[in-house]
């Protein structure tokens, strides 16, 4: 089971580009539809738990699934499997780029990569924005936080906790 968990999450890790939110669809397909390890309700619970606990969403999902089926070792190897492909690819990529940078000026490539990466960030922003901002309450929180972040000009770690608190507070009032 531990090896199976490792392999499943290795596969997920290999195909999940664009951050946890974009990866959720892949995680759902693999865990719910392909391997039938968990039900769709369990999956949604897991997403909630992953979100209200600190740390990367996909890491939280891997740890949770791993522990559920094979205790701590399972949690460890599922998470390890998830992050391994990215690390391996980054090491190869960095080696390749170091090699190329001796012959070419890579600034144009980095500038292009930034444009490509911005597309992924834009899509992640769209996904989370369209699934969270809609009703009056969320619009009020959105505007408040936008003013706060424009005013502070930096992302403070507590801003997420603050927005969660606003979510709780405003439900009483509206």
């Amino acid at each position: 089971m531990i090896i199976k968990l490792f392999l499943i999450f290795f596969k997920i890790g290999f195909f999940s580009y664009g951050g946890g939110w974009s990866a959720l669809a892949i995680i759902k397909d693999e865990l719910v539809n392909v391997y039938k390890l968990i039900s769709i309700n369990e999956f949604l619970d897991m997403v909630s738990i992953a979100e209200i606990t600190p740390g990367p969403i996909a890491i939280n999902m891997a740890t949770y699934t791993g522990i559920k089926f094979a205790s701590f070792l399972g949690g460890f190897f599922a998470t390890f499997g998830l992050i391994l492909p990215g690390i391996l690819i980054l090491i190869s990529l960095e080696t390749l780029l170091n090699f190329l940078s001796k012959k070419y000026n890579l600034m144009k490539f980095y500038k292009s990569l930034k444009v490509g990466v911005s597309v992924l960030v834009l899509f992640a922003t769209y996904l989370i924005f369209s699934s969270s901002v809609g009703d009056l309450k969320s619009i009020i929180i959105f505007i408040l936080l936008l003013i706060l972040i424009l005013f502070k000009k930096e992302t403070h770690p507590l801003i997420i906790v603050f927005s969660g608190g606003l979510g709780l507070l405003l439900i009483k009032m509206i």
Binding site: G19, G20, P56, L90, V121
Partner: protein, 174 residues
């Protein structure tokens, strides 16, 4: 700032940041730049590389920060720092609580968190694209449409946009 002590900065960020990897990256950026470890432009390049490999974005970013200032092993050391807190928090939760996503207050808190995350993402996106000219915006739009309407995989979109932009700018440069 001792590069080994930066481990505790990553540990702290991972232990305290709700909302997943995309919430963590701007906070990592803030800490790294505040401590004068890496310049802002270099951080953007480093983040672009991190984003072009699969897997959790916060893990990849931590790894690239380590690679940049001290090589592969320092990278893995920082990855460990991001990995540890959620692993133990989730281990605890997975063994203690069965269905706590049902609690209605947690749902409200979650709604707030998602709005907060979208504000953070919008802010981060703006910092990425603020120097873009119209040609970059065209590529950004094309990339978004590829994912949104044609359901392109993120990795293909990333490659297509990066390399087509590279070709266009090189041709224009000559």
């Amino acid at each position: 700032m001792n590069k080994y002590k930066l481990f505790f900065t990553f540990l702290k960020i991972s232990a305290l940041t709700l909302g997943g990897g995309y919430a963590m990256v701007p906070i990592i950026e803030r800490e790294i730049i505040k401590k004068n470890i890496i310049e802002k432009d270099d951080f953007i390049i480093l983040f672009s590389k991190a984003q072009s490999a699969p897997g959790p974005i916060a893990i990849n970013t931590a790894f690239m920060v380590g690679m940049k200032i001290g090589g592969i092993f320092l990278g893995l050391y920082y990855v460990l720092a991001v990995f540890i807190p959620p692993f133990f928090i989730i281990s605890l939760i997975a063994t203690l609580i069965k269905r706590y996503a049902d609690l209605i207050y947690i749902q409200y808190f979650l709604e707030g968190i998602r709005v907060g995350l979208s504000v953070i993402l919008i802010n981060f996106l703006f910092s990425l694209i603020k120097n873009f000219k119209y040609i970059e915006f065209i590529f950004l739009l094309i990339g978004f449409l590829l994912i949104y309407f044609f359901k392109f995989y993120s990795i293909y979109t990333l490659l297509i946009i990066t390399f087509s932009y590279l070709i266009v700018t090189i041709k224009k440069g000559k």
